[in-house]
Amino acid sequence: MNRIRRALVAALAAGLLRPLASLAAAWNKDAFGAKNAADALKSLGAANAVPSHDLVIEAPQIAENGAVVPIEITSSVRGTRSIMVLVDKNPFPLVGKFDFAEGALPFVKLNVKMGETSDVRVVAEAGGRYYVATREIKVTIGGCGG
């Protein structure tokens, strides 16, 4: 038992056992650091995305508070492997990129921050091609009260 333990510790120290972080996809610094939607899409290879009605965005038209804006995305584009979410007017538009393997439906619901009224842009990747849908969400700052 002791020998096994020592071997494990040595392996960890040698970096042979990869920590949680490196098992997932590397964080795309260029895309997430892009300051406008066009640059972010270019970084993702999605500059020529075509509009598609099969990419559906469920979201309120008005958000009482920009700190939490709920967005639900469903892609019925066949073979969707990835969904990307951008808020055009945010300082860094790309907010998320979700890769789906066999076993998950191309669907995600998340809460995003919006600094002001803006288009929310959703891109789906399927078979090497890119599809896009947009939706404007108005952001108000509510008044006092519960």
Binding site: A59, P60, I62, N65, N111, T140, I141, G142, G143, G146
Partner: protein
């Protein structure tokens, strides 16, 4: 789009405004529904449960023997039956005053220490906020039914009602100044007419609540404190007779409504 075109052709300008205002209200309701469905509220309930079971104070005991009206440690449905009269304290108490009572009598803590930080922030919620989230969550589905039969409860209700309509302070405001007339709003927030049951019911069914605008969990004590601040009146002392009376008036007005669990608000 088509709706608005129809509006221009068939209806007058007045009706157009009404239709657009209705759309706005519906969209805001949709926002409120969607954030409630994807709310971190349950995390506060989880942390609250841990805190409820944590031994604290000179007695090194947890709050698990605290009696919230249904017997020591009996939490299911207890929040929905507050405020009510408690013989051992000889007082009408709401959730937070009862928790404070248990912290002092069960755990041996000093009132001053237990109330040093009753309202938290986004980095660190207060004990009262976490405990309120947990205990209120245990009343999901229970009908709101505060105590109204004991003479002290009736007294507290009358006091709460009088306070609701009593104008005071630098601006000569009462609760009714904002919450006393149909059709009022502050910026985008519709103001419920809280002395009317149909308005009070959904309100009392969703407090305490997580507030998305500052990522904090707010209790009823905080809500009343902040209302007084907004009315430019001195803030009431924590768990004061005033706050309990007002809470009883509001829950009594909303009674019968199934409690939905801690809410999520902007």
């Amino acid at each position: 789009m088509i709706r608005r075109l129809v509006c221009l052709f068939l209806l007058g300008g007045f009706s157009c405004t009404a239709v657009l205002a209705q759309d706005t209200k519906k969209e805001i309701q949709r926002y409120q529904q969607m954030i409630a469905e994807g709310s971190p509220v349950e995390l506060f309930e989880l942390e609250g449960e841990t805190l409820w079971k944590k031994p604290q104070g000179p007695s090194n005991l947890s709050l698990e023997r605290c009696d919230l009206g249904l017997g020591p440690g009996m939490l299911k449905g207890a929040y929905a039956r507050l405020p009510r009269y408690f013989k051992d304290a000889d007082q009408v108490m709401d959730l937070e005053s009862r928790l404070l009572h248990c912290m002092v009598t069960l755990q041996g803590r000093k009132r001053e220490e237990a109330t040093r930080r009753v309202f938290g922030n986004d980095d660190r919620p207060s004990e009262m906020e976490l405990l309120s989230a947990y205990i209120a969550g245990r009343s999901r589905g229970a009908k709101i039914s505060p105590g109204l039969s004991h003479p002290r409860e009736k007294q507290a209700y009358e006091l709460g009602r009088a306070l609701f309509f009593h104008r005071a302070g630098a601006w000569d405001f009462s609760c009714a100044s904002c919450h006393g007339e149909e059709g009022k709003r502050i910026r985008m927030q519709d103001l419920p007419v809280l002395y009317k049951p149909q308005h009070a019911r959904p309100v009392v069914a969703t407090w305490p609540a997580y507030r998305v605008s500052n990522s904090t969990f707010k209790t009823m004590q905080w809500r009343l404190n902040d209302c007084y601040r907004q009315m430019r009146m001195p803030e009431p002392a924590f768990a004061s007779e005033t706050t309990v009376a007002l809470t009883l008036f509001l829950t009594a007005t909303g009674r019968g409504e199934p409690y939905r669990g801690p809410g999520t608000k902007r």
